[in-house]
């Protein structure tokens, strides 16, 4: 991997070479029947050849819309675009349809967020890659296929020759994104626009894709515009950054300046609200109040004003323009930028309300899972044989303790969601036991289910759109008879206030709330049942960065106040670290390591835990990434898990003749710390152990 040899950022790119892409005063608005949404309001930026430029922002900030304008992919109506976009001096806006077709895919190419939906499901992958070549170079079918194989091989698809005729659904998520990149590079464009290309992928796969793009960039002398909400990824790849909010650029400059000498309160707030692996866990995350909004009328003042701790005199008077605040083109659109102190005083972390579960408290197990198995049969063929099964959860044992949070992490397909659903009795186990307060779990409906509640990943689909918020929250109260009919309303108001929403929000319907607010409603619904355990399945992964911190803090506050136990399922290791007391790492239906949080993060023992931790991007430019071991490949199929240690096919330190044949068991290596790895607790008497001297 050439991760360490990435091109160093030129001192001042604009001075060295003419710009490849120049955007000047870009305005985009969507004239919809009900309202006019102003998506981009006066954006100017430049991208130099072979530079990586990151466009950072939350949902609705206008980052994708600006770049779709560069591609000429916004259909108008409803889009109305003005300003100027030039690639190598040629104006893109107002180009004829014919010229636009010759420009798209040849001069500029784009990779999208969802690799599955961005590939045509009914065409073979190779044909879709070759299509650009057929369009722009007029090559023959056979030649296009040959080139597709070469490109697939180049982007790291193993045995490309055999995969070129596969359909997209036969590829894994990571492979699909590699195929998308191959497609984008087919005609060797000068500019690659990557729109959140790793957001839908696992952290391990994200690291692979980031490495791949960096390699290709050097090889193809490619300029890359990387659109993202993740400041961690930005720090790893970007030469220069622009932070967008409400359709405006609020701060721009070289990556190192933006991270180390932040000159806009919003950038600083974003950086502060990300949970990080390299900082001590404080009781609470710094949070930006409020949520991003849709701009419907022309901006006349600083759009960040109502969420900003520096807001004061003059902020409401005029729309602040980007002003030079440092060298290397560092500019900020904040009139109070010179007053910015250290980020920690600007965005304080605060403390959790109430008492944190203290160590001297007696350990009181609420949920006890023993040797849990959830297998889903694969039904196929005329005979409807059920011989094979997806082993989603395959022998998991764990305890959830009152007042504490158990974090569960792992890549997608590791069984963490199924485990969570089994604990709430939403799926029926095929083996093992789950006990709640000493009583076996009951799958029938009824009031006994009050004790365990769940918060789901997507707050948009997790509540009935036809019910008023009041009824959404009141339903558990009514089912479990937790309040008199007269008292239900008061209790709902109380719950809404507890989760930080106005007490009168109950009158409205779920669609009237933002994602973060809806997740608060979901929390209120879970709390309404007065549960002893709440299972949270990726509760913040669909939320904006600034809103994530709010919800995480809310959950921590509520736990401190009510003493409930939580199971926190997530793929984001930093988030899990922030909320959990104990963490379990899952791989292919099994727990491979389980330990108190600080032990696990400070000294991961299982190679899989190590690899997961190393894959997490650090929001710090010039962070040494060279010594990382990257996990290769994808999670194998849970229908056919590898023999021996299930991780041995991807393990960088697997011992031949041992790990592939002998299944390691989950052993307690120090009190409270469980690991399932032959290298940590070698099986006695195995020849490989004696040979390697592992027994000492």
């Amino acid at each position: 991997m050439t991760a360490g040899t990435a091109v160093a950022p030129p001192r001042d790119p604009a001075a060295v070479r003419p710009n490849l892409l120049e955007i000047e005063n870009l305005f985009v608005r969507f004239e919809l029947p009900t309202e006019t949404v102003r998506a981009v309001s006066g954006v100017s930026l430049t991208v130099a050849p072979s530079e990586t430029f990151a466009l950072v922002g939350e949902s609705g900030s206008g980052k994708s819309v600006s770049m779709l304008s560069v591609m000429g992919l916004l259909s108008s109506p409803p889009a109305v675009i003005s300003g100027s976009i030039r690639l190598e001096g040629r104006e893109v806006l107002g180009m004829s349809a014919r010229r636009l077709r010759k420009y798209r895919g040849k001069d500029v190419a784009m990779v999208f967020q969802e690799p599955m939906s961005s590939l045509n499901p009914v065409h073979r992958v190779g044909r879709q890659i070759g299509e650009s070549l057929r369009i722009h170079r007029g090559v023959s079918r056979a030649e296009a296929r040959r080139q597709a194989i070469r490109l697939l091989d180049r982007v790291g698809i193993p045995s490309a020759k055999n995969r070129v005729d596969d359909y997209p659904h036969e590829f894994s998520g990571g492979m699909r994104q590699r195929a998308m990149i191959a497609m984008a590079l087919a005609c060797e464009p000068k500019l690659l626009i990557a729109d959140e290309p790793t957001t839908a992928l696992d952290v391990t796969v994200q690291a692979q894709i980031v490495d791949l793009v960096r390699e290709l960039q050097a090889e193809y002398r490619l300029a890359v515009v990387w659109i993202t909400h993740d400041l961690g990824v930005v720090a790893e790849i970007a030469d220069r950054v622009a932070v967008m909010y409400a359709g405006r650029i609020l701060e721009t400059g070289q990556a190192s300046d933006l991270y180390r000498a932040t000159r806009h309160p919003y950038t600083s707030g974003l950086l502060r609200s990300i949970p990080r692996l390299d900082r001590s866990v404080t009781t609470r995350l710094a949070e930006i109040p409020g949520a991003p909004f849709r701009v419907v009328s022309e901006l006349a003042a600083c759009p960040f004003d109502d969420r900003c701790p520096l807001a004061g005199e003059g902020c409401q008077d005029a729309l602040p323009e980007l002003d030079t605040v440092g060298h290397g083109g560092h500019r900020s659109a904040c009139i109070h930028h010179h007053q910015m102190g250290p980020a920690s005083t600007l965005w304080p972390e605060g403390t959790v309300a109430g008492d944190q579960a203290s160590a001297d408290q007696a350990i009181d197990t609420v949920v006890s899972v023993r040797d849990l198995q959830v297998h889903f049969p694969i039904v196929r063929g005329l005979s409807r044989s059920r011989r094979r099964a997806i082993r989603a959860v395959d022998g998991v044992s764990l305890d959830v303790v009152r007042g504490q949070t158990l974090g569960i992490v792992g890549e997608s397909g590791c069984g963490k969601t199924t485990l969570g659903r089994a604990m709430v009795a939403l799926v029926r186990p095929t083996g093992g036991t789950i006990e709640i307060n000493g009583k076996p779990i009951n799958h029938r409906s009824g009031r006994h289910r009050r004790v365990v509640q769940m918060i789901f990943q997507d707050p948009f689909s997790a509540m009935n759109p036809g019910m008023r918020v009041e009824d959404v929250i009141a339903e558990p109260l009514r089912i479990h008879r937790l309040a008199d009919t007269a008292a239900v309303r008061d209790r709902v108001t109380e719950l809404l206030t507890q989760v930080g929403l106005p007490g009168d929000s109950g009158e409205r319907y779920p669609h009237e709330f933002s994602g973060g607010q809806r997740q608060r409603i979901a929390v209120a619904r879970a709390l309404a049942a007065d549960p002893e355990v709440v299972v949270c399945d990726e509760p913040v992964s669909s939320l904006d960065v600034s809103v994530q911190a709010q919800v995480i803090n809310l959950l921590a506050d509520l736990q401190a106040r009510t003493g409930m136990a939580m199971v926190f399922i997530a793929h984001d290791l930093a988030v899990v670290r922030h909320v959990s007391h104990e963490v379990g790492v899952m791989y292919l239906g099994e727990i491979v390591e389980k330990a108190p949080r600080d032990q696990l993060y400070a000294d991961p023992l299982h190679p899989y835990t190590k690899a997961l931790l190393e894959a997490v991007p650090v929001p710090e430019p010039d962070y040494d990434t060279t010594r990382r071991t990257r996990l290769t490949g994808d999670v194998p199929s849970p229908a056919d898990p590898p023999s021996g240690c299930r991780f041995h096919t991807r393990c960088p330190v697997a011992v031949e003749g041992l790990c592939s044949t002998v299944k390691p068991s989950l052993e307690e290596v120090t009190p409270g710390r469980w690991v399932s790895c032959h290298l940590v607790s070698p099986p006695a008497g195995h020849p490989a152990v004696a040979h390697l001297g592992l027994g000492e």
Partner: protein, 315 residues
């Protein structure tokens, strides 16, 4: 496949049980109003001849045997073998339903695609409201209007039947005779059938046009023609095939009204006559044919799907 056999068994069993669950004496059904005049010997003779003296399970077993040998018994009214009656009706029904299915499929798909491609324009919206109006027309009313205009008012087309009675036409004259009799029923069925196909096509294509992979294709530099035929068409057609399959399945049963209005000698009219004359064996046999038609149409759709969408192929 398993589902299909279950449906067949359930349909045949229901068909067997229904008349036996009906109140009243089966003899009354067979002999009609004269039942009171039968001697005990005659009664026993009839019961034995029809097989009603055997235990129920044996009757059921024989019923299956009859179905496999194509023996549906005799019509109460005409005393003819029901198989023969059905066979002579099927070609006429197939002629008008098949033609109208092709017409409404072609017109519906083309107009639906055009509408979706020009989504939101005046043309799209007026076509959409036009189709909704057509959909709300009752088919018998449409048939009567056609008859009163083309047959009565202008005298251009014959108003009833499938051929001119006792005309002994031959060659091209005979062919034209059949066509001229089929035009109005086919037109009525096509007009009624088109809006459903149109709406499905339009909706399905709008869905497809909004897909991410269409944006990908445009980002590659694909022109409108390539986007439409290379990426949209195949992804759009699957729901349309489902609709057409359902229509094909019901085409046998759905023609009762139109065939009655035009006195067209198809299966639908046979059923109408059977219902009017309480000819239960004929009704039973016709219902079995309808069930079979629905199943065959569904099977056809199931076989077509994997050819269109590779995700539905089982490895």
């Amino acid at each position: 496949m398993a589902q299909y056999s279950v449906v067949v068994v359930v349909a045949v069993t229901l068909n067997f049980l229904l008349p036996r669950l009906m109140p009243g004496n089966p003899l009354a059904l067979i002999a009609g109003v004269d039942v009171g005049m039968l001697t005990p010997d005659q009664r026993a003779d009839i019961v034995a001849r029809v097989g009603l003296d055997a235990p129920l399970w044996l009757q059921y077993f024989r019923y299956w045997g009859d179905i496999f040998t194509g023996d549906f018994g005799f019509s109460f009214r005409s005393s003819r073998p029901i198989v023969d009656m059905i066979w002579e009706r099927i070609p006429w029904t197939l002629l008008i339903t098949g033609l109208s299915l092709v017409v409404s499929a072609v017109v519906g798909v083309l107009l639906g695609a055009l509408s979706a491609w020009r989504r939101g324009t005046k043309g799209d919206l007026s076509m959409l409201s036009g189709m909704i109006s057509v959909e709300s027309l009752p088919s018998f009313w449409l048939g009567m209007v056609l008859i009163s205009l083309f047959a009565v008012q202008w005298g251009l087309l014959p108003s009833f039947g499938a051929v001119t009675p006792a005309s002994d036409l031959e060659g091209w004259a005979h062919v034209w005779d059949i066509i001229s009799h089929a035009i109005m029923p086919v037109a009525a069925l096509s007009i009624v059938g088109t809006p459903g196909v149109y709406m499905t096509m339009r909706y399905s294509m709008l869905e497809t046009l909004g897909e991410d992979y269409i944006r990908t294709a445009r980002a590659k530099g694909a022109g409108e023609r390539r986007v439409l035929f290379g990426h949209v068409a195949r992804n759009t057609i699957a729901p349309v095939i489902t609709v057409l399959a359902i229509r094909l399945g019901f085409a046998f049963g759905g023609t009762v009204i139109i065939e009655t209005v035009f006195s067209y000698p198809g299966l639908g009219r046979l059923v109408f006559e059977a219902v009017a004359g309480r000819d239960y064996p004929v009704m039973q046999a016709a219902f079995l044919v309808f069930t079979a038609a629905v199943l065959v149409a569904n099977l056809l759709a199931d076989l077509l799907y994997p050819l269109i969408d590779p995700r539905t192929r089982t490895s």
